[in-house]
Point group: C2
Chain length 643, copies 2
């Protein structure tokens, strides 16, 4: 495959680290779970996003700004520019991935619009622009101007790495130069209320070789946590201005903000050799995963402030677990994986991809979850598809939102997903995600290698890797064995070896045609929560491979009420068979009973007349597919019957 | 005692109903739990509120408005007028209760300020007033103009019932007349985003005999739930504009709004003989108590929208359970009690008074809880006492809030509390709250009766009632026996009778000096939650009499971490003795053990090195007193050790 600008379409290109990522020019997803979703992204979601943003005039805002029209004509929230930029980024990846003319045309058209709105000094914003310098950066806390540049720059970096210099890149360079002038060492000592520009500038520095962008990113990271931002009604932790990044021990406040900031901090740490900063973020990640992360990988337990809660505050029903936090969590874990080579980061990416990112889009790609709760108490309601939903959480997916960060974030993640699948190091190649794909890459020592990965994962547990290209001497193939995969077996020729969590590694003088196979045990299992998570005490959750399952009311008999049922966890759930209505997804079945409810001391009780302890076996479906069959109640964590 | 205007200082005076309330001129609290708090209210809290509102210029806003000064000079949120009115109401009650000159002077001074800001046509608002008619009522959803009138009118009603006509009453009448003109049958078909004026107008109608105020209240109640208000980002349920009042089955949306509206609906139903509406609200109450109310009586489980959650969504840590919702819940339950005579309403009032209303003020009366969670995971932080806290929930009480509805609401409730203690009906007198007090009242048939109630309740279980005045023939004394009081005994002379929950009634030809005694069992007990409340599954809570208890970290040994402990619920908690630092409150003790925590599959765990299953007996304190000894973690619901 082509590597036109030496970066092979990689979403992230650290200057150093344990692992080197392979990009979308090196890894191609082949038909299977993720290729299906990537195709949905390219064929439906991207157009869906553009159509909505055109209709709501978020795209047109750039034309208004170019024409100097008054702000009162503008539509959308103050950060709507960023959605156009995220769509642009998705189109850059799509154009490179497919070579399709419409995506390429989309990049050109949107670039032209955006470029026209840029002011001579590089400033670019449809909400605050063209109103004179006093208005610019008048609300760093909530104005989102630097945040919007961040997404513009990320789109440009994707363009550079998949195509090379063009007008989009030039616009982003001008904007970045403007930021460096305004907020550099001699400029305003400010930061943006919503982090994002930090990682964007560090990446632009990597992609262009311009050191000053990295320095600006470093400045923004270092300035944070020192009270430069004004007071926020939810406290300074809301935008991570409470504690300096290198002094913090856990992620807190607005989850997407926290995760973008941490991503930028890793980028800065890696490029500047700042091991203290890297370890600080790694510790924050560990503590966050251990005590502030849902079973799905979802992050952010509070609707208020879209924020992390305290340790072990993980209510399933009020989980916010924003789709964008899922995307941002993958961005952060990917950076930490590349820096350290530790497989648990790839485990976390897998968990989040299958149970947050994949959960957001409806099967038809035309509506989305913004929040991803683990329990829906009452069936959700249908949001009028003609209007953007003002509600981030409605119990059913919505076609669009008043704040619609998630669909565009999903688009850029799906379009670039092949760039998160494999890595190389001195010794060989690591398959970080067990996805059907082909790989053509160059090892650091210059040897060309090629693999074909065939698998029905996550529905089937066999992953077959065929060597298609290999030259000159031994190298290693490492296949990630997820932490849940107790009893995995690696097979090569006559060899059959039990492999534990981490990487199953085989070093050989590989020849084309060589084949190795990893067999992962996919028997459904019950998972128990940490005893400190009060909200799900006494409950279990079903998992199968990387997938979290849930019980959805539409699958149960009329006797089963999801708030009045408990499962027999002494017997594991069993495969029930693929469900055609859910695209062939494996469903599970488990033994359960109705629980006696109602307290005669309470004035009202719904238990009257209900037989206690009736057997009500439950069907369970993959969590990421819930809510595709109309309004339903749902729960991941199910009370366990006493033994 | 005097009954200057025939309403005896009653907070609510229904035209009909099962019970007739006794007012503050008929019931006087005597030294004890509630008299102490009432004294704190009158001697500290009222002055505290006035000082803060003077310093923050919320009082001065009226002067600015009177002078026609520009809105940009105004301070405080758009509804800050209502806080001045609630303080005015508290001062009216205090002036009548104590006869003290400062309270009477406070009424006069504030009345003069308010009156000067009223416009010639009766319109009165410091935020929207004096800007021309186009600005008035330009934001019915969130402008709070009618809401503010509501509190003005409630203050005036308190004045009418404790003093009689004066300038405050005249101002409120002019405002009410203005509202009737603007929003009457021939006026604008609108309602206020925040209910409150409904109950205020109904009460003003009762207090003045003016039918048109009742008709206006009825119109506001009937118009609601039909989408007259614009869309709200949290949905129309936020301000109860989703379903007509008589069609709703449960309270929903913003809790204070819902409870004020329901209170107004009961007033309208009672005055118009609308039994269907009354029963609709009673059903909403039953369903709300059964599935949307905390053990403390607190209502509102969501920070977002300060709102009710779904049925059984009752997280202890994120409980909002706003103090004002507690006050409003008492207002509603009192109205339903008077209408129906059903004792469970008085039970609910007791639970809410002891565990929400009493929990709000610090022991010194100088800081307040706005939200009343049942679990504090990390020790709260001290809010700078020099500034109004922007945070409704901070884990510690704050002296004042940017939205400071709770301290003034608490003030008016405490000042009028004697008006919620006793009722009469054809047959005699009912003691609804077991508080030390003296009662002088007239039965509906004209006979004068008098009682003295002596009790150390809630710390002691004996309630002694001595007849001090009685003439001519038999009548009944009814003492409420709370639902939790299993094994209560009523004693009179040689008679000793087990009495069940409800009312212990004795009918006699009472003579002065007659004495009866109710003995309530106060042995501490464990309470288990409804099994459908997921958030506290497997937990128990300690209660003693009407008091909910909690474990607070400051009382425990260094080995006890409240998120890593479980109690032995096979043995009831035991009285440990009075605590001098908590005003002599009884503390409890229970057996508990550290629980093993930490999952080796997780990257980080705090369990390393901690011995599992160590005995860590817990001390528990009354919930209403928590947070008086500095930052602390706290929990009401404690995990139960497996048997």
């Amino acid at each position: 495959m082509a590597d036109p600008v030496g970066t092979a379409g990689r979403p992230v290109v650290p200057g150093s680290g344990a692992l080197r990522p392979l990009g979308i020019h090196e890894v191609r997803l082949e038909p299977g779970f993720w290729a299906d979703r990537q195709r949905l992204g390219g064929e439906v979601i991207v157009d869906h996003c553009r159509a909505w943003m055109t209709r709501l005039a978020w795209v047109g805002n750039f034309r208004l700004a170019a024409e100097g029209r008054p702000l009162s004509d503008r539509r959308g929230r103050e950060f709507s520019d960023s959605e156009v930029y995220k769509l642009l980024e998705a189109l850059c990846w799509e154009a490179a991935r497919t070579g399709a003319a419409p995506a390429e045309r989309g990049v050109a058209e949107l670039t032209e619009l955006v470029a026209a709105a840029q002011e001579p000094d590089g400033y670019l914003n449809t909400c605050f622009g063209h109103q004179g310098p006093g208005v610019r950066y008048s609300d760093l806390e909530m104005g989102h101007e630097l945040y919007c540049y961040g997404h513009l720059i990320q789109a440009a970096v994707a363009r550079l790495r998949t195509h090379g210099e063009d007008e989009l890149v030039a616009v982003a360079r001008r904007a970045a130069d403007h930021v460096c002038r305004q907020f550099g060492p001699d400029g305003r000592n400010g930061i943006c209320g919503h982090p994002e520009i930090e990682t964007a500038l560090a990446e632009l520095s990597r992609a262009t070789g311009e050191e000053r962008y990295l320095e600006q990113a470093r400045l923004f990271v270092e300035r944070r946590g020192r009270g430069l931002l004004g007071d926020h009604e939810l406290g300074q932790a809301y935008f991570q201005d409470d504690v300096p990044v290198r002094a913090a021990r856990v992620l807190r406040g607005h989850a997407v903000r926290a995760l973008y900031l941490a991503s930028g901090a890793v980028d800065v740490a890696v490029e500047t050799g700042d091991d203290e900063l890297l370890e600080a973020v790694a510790e924050q990640w560990r503590n966050t995963v251990a005590a502030r992360t849902y079973l799905t990988g979802g992050m952010g337990s509070r609707h208020t402030g879209e924020s992390f809660g305290e340790d072990f505050e993980l209510p399933p029903d009020r989980a916010y677990a924003e789709t964008c936090a899922g995307v941002a969590s993958v961005m952060l874990a990917w950076r930490l994986l590349l820096a350290t080579g530790e497989s648990h980061y790839a485990d976390a990416i897998e968990r989040t991809l299958y149970n947050v990112v994949a959960a957001s889009p409806a099967m038809d790609g035309r509506s989305f979850f913004y929040a991803n709760p683990l329990q829906q108490r009452v069936p959700g309601y249908v949001v009028d598809s003609g209007a953007a939903s003002p509600h981030a959480a409605a119990g059913l997916r919505s076609p669009w939102f008043a704040v619609s960060c998630c669909p565009t974030n999903l688009s850029r993640m799906l379009a670039s997903l092949a760039g998160y699948v494999a890595t190389v190091d001195e010794g060989g190649l690591q398959l970080q995600q067990l996805a059907a794909c082909t790989v053509r890459a160059t090892l650091p020592d210059g040897r060309a290698v090629g693999l074909r990965v065939e698998t029905g994962y996550p529905w089937a547990g066999a992953v077959t890797v065929q060597v298609e290209e290999a030259t000159g001497g031994p190298w290693r193939i490492a296949l990630r064995v997820p932490a849940w995969a107790d009893g995995a077996v690696l097979a090569y020729g006559d060899l059959r070896r039990r492999v534990g969590p981490g990487y199953a590694v085989l070093e050989r003088d590989w020849r084309p045609g060589d084949e190795l196979r990893l067999d992962l045990p996919l028997a459904p299992r019950w998972t128990r929560p940490d005893p400190r998570v009060d909200a799900v005490r006494g409950c279990v959750a079903a998992e199968r491979g990387p997938l979290v399952y849930c019980a959805e009311s539409v699958d149960q008999g009329p006797a089963a009420r999801l708030d009045e049922v408990a499962v027999d966890a002494s017997v594991p759930p069993a495969d029930q068979g693929p469900d055609g209505g859910l695209g062939g997804a494996m469903t599970l079945r488990c033994a359960a009973r109705a629980i006696p409810v109602g307290d005669p001391g309470k004035p009202a009780s719904s238990s009257a007349g209900r037989a206690a302890d009736a057997a009500v076996p439950l069907t369970m479906v993959p969590y990421h597919l819930w809510g595709n069959r109309g309004p339903a109640s749902m729960r991941v964590w199910l009370p366990e019957l006493p033994n």
